[in-house]
Subunit: 265 residues, 2 copies
């Protein structure tokens, strides 16, 4: 296999520009970096468009490169310099896949037996969004909705923070948050807004129905009109003196509280 | 009040070097940035050594500057350039306090009626450590122990991520992790290591006794010898397909599970 060594080659440039949202939206493709994400991408049919691997990474993860080839995915050996150009991390892990968009429409993401959905409204930090996606996956959520006021799920930092979870559960993107709430209500979900202004705490509300959790902005939470749309505003109890929890932490406590109730039934 | 405009003035340099651990340890002092942290520092007797404030911040938060003056804390007006030199954030909030170390010995941190303690073993990312400190505060923990293998609690990023919580609950630092475990056991705590290798899940263990949670490294968790020291290794259940949770998320789920059980008693 010949090695890509020129960072200005058309193939490298075409992949590199997927670090920008406008190009991702145009190509309907994104970058997934590192062995874990690449392995998860390859486990899905038709998602991986091409794979870049350094010689070192190919020696370290031969099974991944073999899986790509067996799946008919073109594999390109990349020099360290080319990988550094493509990767968005300080210490690239030597494997990077160009992947097709994986999101689905809400009606497809939320099956009739779905019981737990996380909705990101106004979440702006991609690391937080990816962490919530990973936590929702761990908590057994059925889907995660990135509304149009939240960060792009295909942002490199979000994909990395999701630690492969972007390939594990249905992701919805681009819906206006009001429409997402309306549709989830229409499908029988109780929409709970997680917000410090809630009158009842997580310990006081019934979580046995199908629940869609609404998580707001890192700094200012959820706007009044969204709080009004929810069936109830629920706060995570603060037992000590902290003013609040950070977004990803609050989401983890809410999602796991729901999961526990659902599993006990 | 005359304004500090020279980033090379001795006062500015003396504060600036507290961004380095060696100087913090020598001066037994650290920096707390932003209105929230400064307010919490001032609420404690004798913690704030001096306060730097831009003219803008003084107009925006007059009550903070007044509180400092009433407490006999020297207040220095700082130019935007001086604040940028002192602050470790991209957009400084205009208020920065030099504070005395606030940690206490373990025997003082853990009172006879203490029921919940978080122990950070090998936590290396200051943002994660600060987030766990904030979450422990929110969950009503009695103390947080930063062992000598973990990041410095006075690291600027840790202080910021704690969102004031470093001033809310007793913090212990510098103890070898083995010694911390031993002392907590001696004080009647059940030491639970949070780790994906646990045989029982959080939902399966009794959490009503006083519990000390042991949290490990972001990448590799807890070493075998520490797992062996714990009374039990407990994992957060993974209901979906995520391989694991991130450290701060796992800590949040564990601490809140303990808090809920303790509050229900």
């Amino acid at each position: 296999m010949s090695e890509l060594t020129n960072i200005k080659s058309p193939r490298v440039k075409a992949a590199r520009r997927l670090t920008k949202r406008a190009f991702r939206d145009r190509d309907r493709a994104f970058l997934a970096e590192g062995p874990q994400a690449v392995r998860e991408a390859l486990a899905l049919d038709g998602v991986t468009v091409e794979l870049f691997a350094t010689a070192e990474a190919e020696l370290r993860h031969p099974e991944i490169v073999t899986a790509a080839k067996l799946a008919g995915v073109p594999v390109f050996r990349a020099s360290g310099e080319v990988m550094a150009e493509l990767a968005q991390t300080v210490t690239p892990q030597g494997l990077l896949a160009v992947c097709r968009f994986v999101h689905v429409p809400l009606e497809q993401a939320v099956a009739a037996d779905a019981r737990l959905v996380a909705v990101l409204a106004h979440v702006r930090d991609p690391g937080n969004a990816g962490t919530v996606l990973r936590t929702a996956d761990a908590a057994g959520a059925d889907a995660v909705v990135f509304t149009d006021a939240s960060v792009d799920p295909y942002n490199g930092k979000c994909v990395r923070a999701s630690a492969g979870s972007i390939f594990h559960l249905p992701v919805v993107t681009g819906l206006p948050v009001g429409k997402a709430v309306q549709e989830l209500k229409g499908r029988g979900f109780r929409v709970l807004a997680a917000d410090g202004t809630g009158t009842r705490t997580l310990d006081e509300v019934a979580l046995d129905a199908p629940v869609a959790w609404l998580f707001g902005n890192e700094a200012w939470g959820l706007p009044a009109e969204l709080l009004a749309l929810a069936d109830e505003v629920v706060r995570v109890p603060i037992y000590g003196r902290a003013e609040s929890l950070n977004l990803a932490t609050a989401a983890a406590v809410c999602l796991y509280a729901s999961a526990r109730v659902h599993r006990q039934k």
